[in-house]
Amino acid sequence: MEIFLQQMINGLTLGSVYAIVALGYTMVYGIIQLINFAHGEVVMIGAMIALSVISALAGAHTGLAPVLIVLAGAACAIPVCMGVGYAMERVAYRPLRGAPRLAPLITAIGISIILQNVALMIWSRAPISFPQVMANPVFEVGGAHISAVQIAIILTSIAMMGGLTVLVYRTRLGIAMRATSENHQIAGLMGINVNKVIAFTFIVGAGLGAVAGVMVGTYYGVAHYTMGALLGMKAFAAAVLGGIGNLAGAMLGGILLGVVEALGAGYIGELTDLCRYPWLADMLAENCAQNQHFILFGSNYQDVFAFFVLIAVLVFRPSGLLGERVGDRA
């Protein structure tokens, strides 16, 4: 039971990060039906910048409060990522808006290779580690542990989701975004500057990505130039799980995926320990007596779950949990 609670807490933390990244995918997809492959790299850049700034400030003994240092890191990462997001849209996607679908997908891959290698050039191959700027008190809840950083991540992501919902459903800009996602041409006729709205969507998505980057960086304590690819893929799986193009879906999908992953990693070793099953234990008697365990798949398979979730969703409910429409044209 304690393992369960602990893994739920870890899963919720991870899931809120996935949810924020998934929002970036789903917003862009909702508005121009493009999978922004390079979104994971934006998250990576956010994490790298934030950690560099935080290390620099922590090393300079400025006497700033630790929370301020972390906020300063985020404050530097967000505008840079927004700039990257805007540049990406302007250079690589806008010229290809009417082109066959394969074309923007390939530029997206190109952009993500470029971003990764630029990051490699700036920050080198070695992972950057997060300096211990602040104490990370750990609280105990029913036998499980939850750290201050975890609480902060969950609260921040709830705030971001709330803010985004207000932006999309309560402001003029949000109305323009939704109108554009319905139909570009008619939105244009209604006096909406479609190009601006699309660029803005990319900027918001990238900003969210930057925040997610800061959260992952602080949570794991390291950032590395290759961290974006896997994170991006998992977040995309989360977006598909919730129903791509649907904001609430991305949030739900992200959190669900985080929980599935954490619980999976927590229990897969136990479940695939063949010595637990009497009829198999007889066959493996020698092994079981010697090592006590015969674990087929251990927690090192954690990264595989997102992928199986993705496949399962595509097979059984391609529109996702909350999505209604799904294109079927290549």
């Binding site: 492959f37 082109a99 394969l102 470029i114 896997l230 798949f297 496949i311 290549a330």
Partner: protein, 358 residues
């Protein structure tokens, strides 16, 4: 170049002379390369393998228009099949003409398993799912050393048997008619033969009923369906066929290198093969061959030039050649799509398709 080819078609005699000249050049090539250094023969062999892979991927991406970003996984399946069935790891030493078909069949099976759930969806889903699949295969290869040692984990499999026919081994150097045929040179001739076969198969496929069905699906799936094409099965066929090409190439890679590890099958390799196809010209066999040759040799040339140039100009290494190589790949992908989306040497239909933007 294209004009030159078109002109040659009008003069059959000139065409034959050209063919004979090219064939002679290709026959002599390994000895010329060997005189520069055996490393260059090996590089050429790897380049031929990459042509092989790109032609396989071209069936999927170029003909059928399905973006597969985990293609290297099928290569890995073929390579590991060969490695496990012909190495001291399990003590099995089956001959290659049994293993290569097994590898191809396994890769094909994986292709179908992966394609079946995703092919009825939109193309970009396929891209991400295949990307994920590539990563998953690598994770499994890395971890399947516990509890039963299947793949030997990150250490990889060593001492893989080379191709042998009777007592003729492709790894041993031999002197024949006063010429020294080293291992790599023997493999070069074998690879050339196989490559020729693969190119012929591809050309024939393109003009076949199946090939035309693929192209029809790529151009307009709904229209293709209306013409009575079973789009799902035909797409699945493209996927399976591309995968089995990858499987065969993987087996040959295994035998040539004698050692494989999960490190050889990372995402970057998949992206490299995609870049080759895109750069050369999706759907055009000649273009794909050129793309593969370019992207195989340019990095090697860079490796030998970038370092000395940087040392001469800046006095030290500022940017690693590997980074420059990847940056060039990325830039090439973006710029190609923006300015010449049909590739260096585009196929005619593809060019038309990219030209009409609605």
């Amino acid at each position: 170049m294209i004009e030159a080819l078109a002109q040659m078609r009008r003069h059959p005699a000139a065409l034959w002379v050209a063919v004979v000249l090219v064939a002679a050049a290709l026959l002599v090539l390994p000895f010329v390369l060997a005189s520069v250094g055996t490393a260059w023969v090996r590089i050429t062999n790897l380049a031929i393998l990459f042509i092989f892979l790109s032609l396989g991927l071209n069936i999927v991406v170029g003909f059928a228009g399905l973006l597969d970003l985990g293609y290297i996984a099928f290569y890995a399946v073929g390579a590991y099949t060969y490695a496990l069935l012909a190495s001291p790891h399990f003590g099995l030493h089956l001959p290659f003409w049994i293993i290569l078909p097994i590898g191809a069949a396994l890769a094909c099976l994986f292709g179908v398993l992966l394609g079946a759930p995703t092919l009825k969806l939109r193309g970009d889903y396929l891209a991400i799912v295949t990307l994920g699949f590539g990563e998953i295969v690598r994770i499994f290869l890395n971890n399947l050393s516990q509890p039963v040692n299947l793949t030997n984990g990150p250490q990889g499999v060593t001492l893989i048997d080379p191709f042998t026919i009777g007592h003729f081994s492709f790894a041993r150097g031999e002197t024949f008619l006063g010429l020294t045929f080293s291992g790599p040179i023997k493999y070069y001739y074998l690879l050339m033969l196989v490559l020729l076969a693969v190119i012929v198969i591809n050309v024939r496929l393109e003009d076949s009923r199946i090939g035309r069905a693929w192209i029809a699906i790529r151009e307009d799936e709904v229209a293709a369906q209306a013409m009575g094409i079973n789009t799902r099965n035909i797409k699945l066929l493209a996927f399976a066929m591309g995968a089995s090409f990858g499987g065969i190439a993987g087996g040959m890679f295994s035998a040539m290198q004698g050692f494989i590890s999960p490190e050889s099958f990372v995402l970057v390799e998949s992206i490299m093969v995609v870049s080759m196809v895109v750069l050369g010209g999706m759907g055009n066999i000649g273009g794909v061959v050129i793309g593969a040759l370019l992207l195989s040799f340019v990095p090697e040339v860079l490796r030998y030039t970038v370092e000395p140039v940087q040392r001469a100009v800046f006095g030290r290494m500022l940017i690693e050649p590997e980074v420059i190589r990847m940056l060039l790949f990325g830039l090439a992908l973006v710029l190609m799509m923006l300015y010449r989306p049909a590739g260096i040497w585009p196929s005619k239909t593809r060019k038309r398709e990219f030209a009409e933007q609605d």
